[in-house]
Symmetry: C2
Subunit: 104 residues, 2 copies
């Protein structure tokens, strides 16, 4: 897993959610794709999606339950999970998470 | 003031300070300069510097007292302040701050 995103633009204004429990910066790749690069502090949160997304975990540990699922799945560095458009997921961050969110 | 940094690399791993009151992402420009792009939530903090830096405020409101100064100076969007190497500054963030830190 590469440790950085190259040849991108980054918006100076961050996205701050849940009183700062989640902070991300928006990145635009050379071919115009949007991604967000963020941190989630230890907490239990529910995120709503507009576009479908793939969450790539860079570091940290979390448990995730997708909408309609009963079970929680554990993810850590190198793992990915996909969330449908207009959906939501519950996430319990056990250890501060660094992630890249890819919109698909 | 441009709203984004272009033609850069961004490290996927964020810098998290003061229990998440300050979260930044490290950016490397095309000519190899390092900058950090960050958020400070409302709080009163003291930052130590290694290299000298210029803090460019993108949004939000803060008051800053440099090492050795008695007075506090207010900064908001579009303002900059410079901090010497191996120094420190006190900052009171009144309204969530977005900043770009340039190392000089």
């Amino acid at each position: 897993m590469k440790s950085q995103l190259d040849h991108v633009s980054v918006l100076k204004q961050a996205n701050v959610y849940f009183d700062g429990k989640c902070v991300s910066h928006t990145v635009i790749t050379a071919n115009g794709d949007k991604k967000t690069l963020g941190v989630i502090l230890p907490s239990s949160l529910t995120f709503n999606t507009n576009a479908a997304e793939v969450m790539e975990i860079t570091s940290g540990i979390c448990r995730v339950r997708l909408l309609g699922q009963q079970i929680w799945t554990k993810y850590s560095a190198g793992d990915r999970f996909e969330v449908a458009a207009n959906s939501r997921f519950d996430i319990e961050v056990v250890e501060t998470l660094n992630y890249v969110c890819h919109f698909v």
